[in-house]
Symmetry: C2
Amino acid sequence: MNQTSYVHGYSVREAVRLSDQASTLSELLHYDTCYPDGSRVLECGCGTGAQTVHLAADSPRARIVSMDLSSDSLAQAQAKVHGAGHRNVTFQLADVFHLPFAERSFDHVFVCFLLEHLAEPLRALRALKSVLRPGGSITVIEGDHGSWYCHPQTAEAARTVQCLIAIQARLGGNALIGRQLFPLLAEAGFDGVRVSPRMVYVDDSKPELVEGFSKNTFIAMVQGVRVQALTLGLMDAASWDKGIADMLRAAEQGGTFCYTFFKGAGVRP
Amino acid sequence: MNQTSYVHGYSVREAVRLSDQASTLSELLHYDTCYPDGSRVLECGCGTGAQTVHLAADSPRARIVSMDLSSDSLAQAQAKVHGAGHRNVTFQLADVFHLPFAERSFDHVFVCFLLEHLAEPLRALRALKSVLRPGGSITVIEGDHGSWYCHPQTAEAARTVQCLIAIQARLGGNALIGRQLFPLLAEAGFDGVRVSPRMVYVDDSKPELVEGFSKNTFIAMVQGVRVQALTLGLMDAASWDKGIADMLRAAEQGGTFCYTFFKGAGVRP
């Protein structure tokens, strides 16, 4: 992945979306990640720091290095993390395929929403394994857009999500990578691999998730590729707009909304 | 639903499939259902008793009435439950739309894999509410075939599942009902409705689920509608067989398999 091919773009709206996502889903995704005091942790692909603030808060005395290949994102991440009062993170401009770290220099590696954007996720995992000490752990969190469905569901709504999946694939990514974490981590040579799904289920009893996930995270993300979808001729404007309206309907009273993240972990032998 | 329109048929293989499903998934689906000693419980649509054995075991001193509209199924259920040594269940031939019980005669109602087969699930829920005492609870467990996906996934595999959904719809059922439990229970007039998804995620680390769920429950269920799918012209034989082979591939090493059940509960005001 290079900077310009990142499917979600680098807009302010996208930064807000990532932040909404993290704030709403942080417990679901991060509650079981806490690194020991003094441990050396590499966060690869921190983006604008939406997850970094949780990582830093949940492991307050770990020594975290957060890297990204976008200097703009990195500056936002630094401002966000420092603004939240965390002093346990340093930031480094770096590419996962050219890691500027010595072999075996980290106790733990943390990756969240990165592999989905890479054409070679397996090579990335192997590169990350090389900077991990034997016995050190890797944790990977990824979504899977094929896991989405809602009620009421329509063909147009489903097609807008298929557009997002197709556009991410054209950019060399894989929006269905969540379900593949287990075989990827195993093939990369990690031991003791385990994967747990983190399903987000939203109904009327969960108004925070209706706003924080259904509308401001998922639907906003799909809406973000409208121009590409229409330009590529994947859908016509009327069908697209109906699909988005249908998804918004599922976020209203009586609707339900489902999506699953996957969290995988393994150990370097 | 009448007996002949039950999508899965009444074959021995189907009875085994239901039993495999229950034995493998029983903890996931039933661990949080336990009725007090002496409470009067109605299980509506017990079929061949695949879930009844768990219900009876988990609430050993509840007074359970299990009903079904198939006398053959009911006989199998009785043999299964009595064979397992449970004496807390009585069996009754009955139709949910003509319940032979007095109003308010049960403390709890339990429904598992029934609503998906009904053309009028809302009417069924209202009928069940009428035999429940005020303050009594209803528990409903249903699947949602639209929640299925796997890795590696192919278009043909997805189409076989779409065939099952379409055939169930032609029989008046709704294979996507899991995601609709919350609005259905709310509309039926139950209070305090809550729904929790029960996702089955299968990878190489879970060989029991590969056999017990992926192969012997889900793929077997899809295979069960092959003749109907081909007869109706929904798929050609070659595509169908490739789809099934592809799903079986996802149950081999390196594959993953996902499906979500929904468990809902509410209270009669």
